[in-house]
Amino acid sequence: MTEMIGWRLSTEGLRFQRLLGFCCLASFIKIHFFCLYVASDWLSCFPISVKKHLYDVFFLDGPVIEVVQVLVPFLHRVENGGFDTNSVQTNVERLLILCLLENAGLIKITKEIGDSYQGDISRNGSLKSLLSRLSQILTSIPDKARLKSPPLLSSHLYFKHITDQLLQILDDRASCTEANSTVIVLSFVGEIFSRICRRGLSDLLLSRVTPHVLAHVRRLLNSKMGSIEMETFQLDPTPQIWSKTMKAVTDPYAVEKMAEQVLHQLYAEHASDVEAFWTIWTLFHRNVIHQASVRSIFVDKFLLWKVFPIRCLRWILQFSVLECPPLTNTLAKGDVVQGLLETTQRLASVWSKGEFLQSVPFEQQAYITAALGLCLENMSREELDRTKDVMHSILQGVSCRLENPGDLVRKMASSIAFMFSKVIDPKNPLYLDDSFTGNAIDWEFGLQTAVGGVPSVTNTMESEDGETKTSASLTEVNGSSRRDKEKKNRKSKNISDFVLADPDEIVDLATLNCETESDKDDDNASVSSDNSSVTSLEPYDLLDDDKDLGKQFTHLVDVVGALRKTDDVDGVEKAIFVAEKLVRASPDELTHIAGDLARTLIQVRCSDITIEGEEDSAEEKRQRALIALLVTRPFESLETLNSSLYSPNVDVSQRIMILDVMAEAARELANSKTLKPKDDSRGPLISSISDPQPWYLPSNASTPWKKVSETGSFHLNWANRFERELQSKPGQTKKGKSRRWSLKPADRDQNSTDWSQNRFPLYAAAFMLPAMKEFDKKRHGVDLLGRDFIVLGKLVHMLGVCMQCASMHPEASVLAISLLDMLQRREVCNHPEAYVRRAVLFAASSVLVALNPSYIVSTLVEGNLDLSRALEWIRTWALQIADSDIDRDCYTMALSCLQLHAEMALQTSRALESTGGSSGSSTGSVNISLPSVISKLTSINIKLPSSNVHL
């Protein structure tokens, strides 16, 4: 039945088609109304094959310009009339795919444009507006298409097809030059390009365009082996076509996107410098010449605001700054250097600013540094002199970078300084850094590996102030001990030589005696004569070393005296080397001399007393001695250290050293083991729920858990890894290994001894409070909040270490409030230097770890909200840092800080639960006050993952 109807209709359709064929172009528009509105009603019931025959041909043969204009509006028009909108849209989609994509509609359009183009200026205006409308319609098709529309209309595939057609059009135009409609066609293509870019598909567009152009450039380069002239490209038609097309892209945004994508694509294609230059030149040289905005994209935006791979940077510089084709692998300099000078000046002035250093992410700093370095590479001394203040800016930038705690920042400074010195005097380059020698500089600064992946944390605080230094100096010590051993070997060899040669001294003496006997008469005869008898006095080995002379200090008073005699370099060195041992022996005199000793140790300048290259060992010895002093006599020496910390008589390095030493001493005190009578009174201070173990350890263990000490960057140290010694199995027995001189007193053994692991809390206040007291006061030579930010960072870090060392002790809770007060200062927590912010994050994390949950609970129960406010501040602030900080380390540390906060909150809520239960059963008054506290608590302090606190 349907087949029969189909046949009848198809014959009707053929007639219809024939009818349409007679219609002229003008009537086409009227007819399609009929087709869509009238016919759709009954067309929908025909099978697809019939429809095709019925009017696909009609649309295909019609002028594409008209077809598109008519069809596209129906893509998303929702009619409320009686038409079946669904079928209308399906039809329109099908027809568009058919016309535009499968039958190369765009090529047809350009042909139609060429036909209608009369070379008549009066008509061109309307044509232009028509083309602009047309391009708008064409590029909007994927947006208007429905969700259910066929995949070919999805923007990705659609524009891919469109782009391919456009490329073909351009190729056609390049091969036939005589067509006078070329200009209007190219402007149409350009318009479509810019609209594609506007729609955010520049990557798709350029992923087709770039290889196309690059292939052509490669063809050209291969054909003209060796000699590449500007004319080659200027005369070749394809580059001309391309540059004209690109000139038609008037939208600066589109140009920027395209340029950016070209660079990335070229990088992905591994284009050589020459190929890349010509590709970029082909596409953009007209825009750069004629449009100031495009020029500024290359010279400003791409150099100062964006970050490209370093090879792209070279292309940008070559194209937009040096403005001449490159040689094989190096940047080449053209005759016109004005652009280079201006760019260098601009880069240098940006680079030199301290704010730039503080506020810009690391990758961008490296990028601009590289840009400046490459510019400098291409400058001569005379050109540098012609610029106004490049020299000044560079010196300023180098000096402010060299003071920075970050390794890479200092490396940037030394690289620029190296380049600069090469400009000034090519024969005498300046090596600020021992690590690099030679001429090649890695402008990527090793960042390439870090991008995107896990940050390789190269400059965290820990690696700067602890581990690496000691490990370095330890290897130094090892080295020197090896040298000593070698020396000893040599010496022992000598000795064995003697032994072999003359094992028995008496023999020698006998011969000596014989000879003196023979001389004796002579002696008596002429006493004054200088006779030969003296040859009998055979010398002993005259080898002499001064190893024993170093041991002469046996009293600390002598050490202090020697340290004060700064003119006696050997004495000072010996005193430093012997100081730690003497201090560790902890003689009685130490109590009285601790202050003096600390002061003199601080004042000693290790670099003065040691030969170059061995400063580290003396410096390490000095610090070890100070640590020993702090550990053995904390109060006496802390008084001196704290007073000299802010004294105008010490310099920044000494302040840093003091803080380092304090942090190390705090750690040592915290880890020290002393045998001490069990202190029962300490029990009630810590509430009932607190175990001797920290709360974050698993509690169901029969033997205590110990934290695995780890080295590495410190926020990784927060990872909770614990270990414990397993008890031996029931049947297993261990044989005793130790030998004792006597039996232990029984009573000590049983009840009164205790290995106290942590001696630090006793001294915590003495460590922290004086240092916190006056940190913000600006004095002569001391400006922690401003210039001496490294000292501030170290101070905060030291305080954090102190908190960690006092963790779970009641002292920590008291000190935490004042420490958090200090951290909350705007100048501290929002310090422009990332170094300080990292330290603050570390200190805040330390506070979170150090606070005993029961203490937080008790403050809440008492209604004291200072602490909870401060803890809430940590959370919001860490969130803010994690959101917006430019420094990657800050970001990761803020995240781990937040994690710690959540953990602390959980533990606190648990503690609160148990406290609430017990207090509820015992006293009613507390019970009454609790709900309000809890509501405050949940609103202010703790954001619980699942609040299960109900009372």
Binding site: I495, D502, E505, E517, V534, L537, Y540, L543
Partner: protein
């Protein structure tokens, strides 16, 4: 040439509680005298290596600066110098020190200069006893008269006894020491306890003498009696500026000669038993061996030795004149061939500054005293026993 490791001490005498400042052998018995900085004077038996007796010769606060014994002093006498401004002469009774000193010289000198007893050649001792050398040098006799006359004008006490070397044989002996004015050298008579003379002799107008002007304190002194001077004493004095002056006691105003071997204070001067030369050392890094020519009254450098580490506080020449030793600040005792001046041994035992070295009269032993409160006995290059 085979190299032997330097020997260790044959014995170490411990017992002092403070730095041992000086050491001296008994001229004939096997005894050793040591004085320490806390004022203790000990007598040791060098055969048994044991302390024989101990006494507080000087006050604890001042300490002993030097001790000496001499054949001319007598078998049973030693003298000690303290930093308390006294020189005391002691009797040794049955191995111990007398309760009270025989004699106290109040020199009122509080300085660092060790005193010096007369040193003279053994041959001259014999000759003095024989009284042979009086007439041999007539021109010198004229000088003697001149000096006598000046001395008479200054102080007419007992000067003939002083100046005639022959009298020494009769038990008269002298000690030279830097005086109350540390630039001056004084010579005291140990029998009478009187000051005989001071060098340079004070001029009537009390103006500073040109000879010692600008030389600073006298740091070392050596009194000796060369055979050529008919028993008249001569004094070598080393000064703070490194210069050494040779005085003849007959002419107390002007030194015979002045030389400057050192750049730092001279700390030790020794004259060989033959009195024709000696060795000097100081705070600088040089040891100088010099010759004394008594006919021309000159002192010439024979050999200069440069040390690795500066500072020598004591020197000694073995009585047979073959080897010499120095006590260094660098804890080392160094032994040199006195004739040729080459180094023979570097002895490392002491753990603190060495203060003094001394040879026994029979040339067998050497003793070194150090700040580490020990005395070490060494046996190096023992002489062939005379048959």
């Amino acid at each position: 040439m085979s190299k032997r490791p330097p020997p260790d001490p044959v014995a170490v005498l411990r017992g002092h509680r403070h730095s041992v400042m000086d050491v001296s052998f008994h001229p004939s018995k096997s005894l050793l005298f040591t004085g320490s900085a806390d004022g203790e004077l000990r007598i040791w038996d060098t055969l048994q290596h044991r302390a024989v007796s101990s006494a507080w010769a000087h006050s604890r606060a001042h300490g002993v600066l030097a001790v000496a014994a001499s054949p001319w002093l007598g078998e049973n006498k030693i003298i000690s110098q303290g930093r308390d401004g006294t020189v005391k002469c002691w009797d040794i009774e049955d191995g111990g020190l007398s309760r009270d000193p025989l004699l106290i010289l109040n020199t009122s000198a509080y300085h660092f200069c060790n005193f010096s007893l007369v040193k003279k050649p053994k041959t001259s001792l014999i000759k003095d006893a024989g009284g042979q050398s009086e007439d041999s040098n007539e021109p010198d006799a004229g000088d003697t008269r001149d000096v006598q006359s000046t001395d008479e004008s200054e102080s007419s006490v007992d000067d003939s006894g002083l100046l005639q070397g022959r009298d020494h044989a009769e038990g008269t002996t002298y000690v030279a020491v830097a005086g109350e004015q540390p630039t001056e050298v004084e010579v005291w008579d140990l029998n009478t306890g009187d000051k005989i003379i001071q060098l340079p002799q004070a001029s009537p107008d009390n103006s500073p003498n040109d000879a010692t002007k600008g030389r600073g304190m006298c740091m070392a002194v050596q009194l000796f009696c060369p055979p050529e001077s008919q028993g008249f004493l001569q004094v070598l004095a080393g000064y703070e500026d490194g210069s050494t002056l040779l005085w003849d006691i007959r002419n107390a105003k002007i030194p015979l000669t002045s030389v400057k071997f050192h750049s730092e204070p001279v700390l030790s001067l020794s004259v060989a038993s033959s009195c024709d030369g000696g060795i000097s050392a100081g705070a600088d890094d040089k040891i100088v061996m010099y010759n004394l020519n008594h006919s021309t009254g000159s002192c010439t450098m024979r050999k200069e030795i440069t040390l690795e580490r500066p500072g020598v506080s004591g020197t000694s020449i073995r009585p047979d004149g073959k080897i010499a030793a120095t006590a260094g600040w660098d804890h080392r005792v160094r032994v040199y061939n006195y004739r040729k001046g080459n180094a023979l041994a570097i002895l490392k035992y002491h753990r603190a500054t060495c203060n003094a070295v001394s040879y026994s009269p029979d040339c067998e032993l050497m003793a070194s005293a150090s700040d580490d409160a020990t005395v070490a006995l060494w046996k190096l290059y023992p002489p062939q026993k005379s048959l």
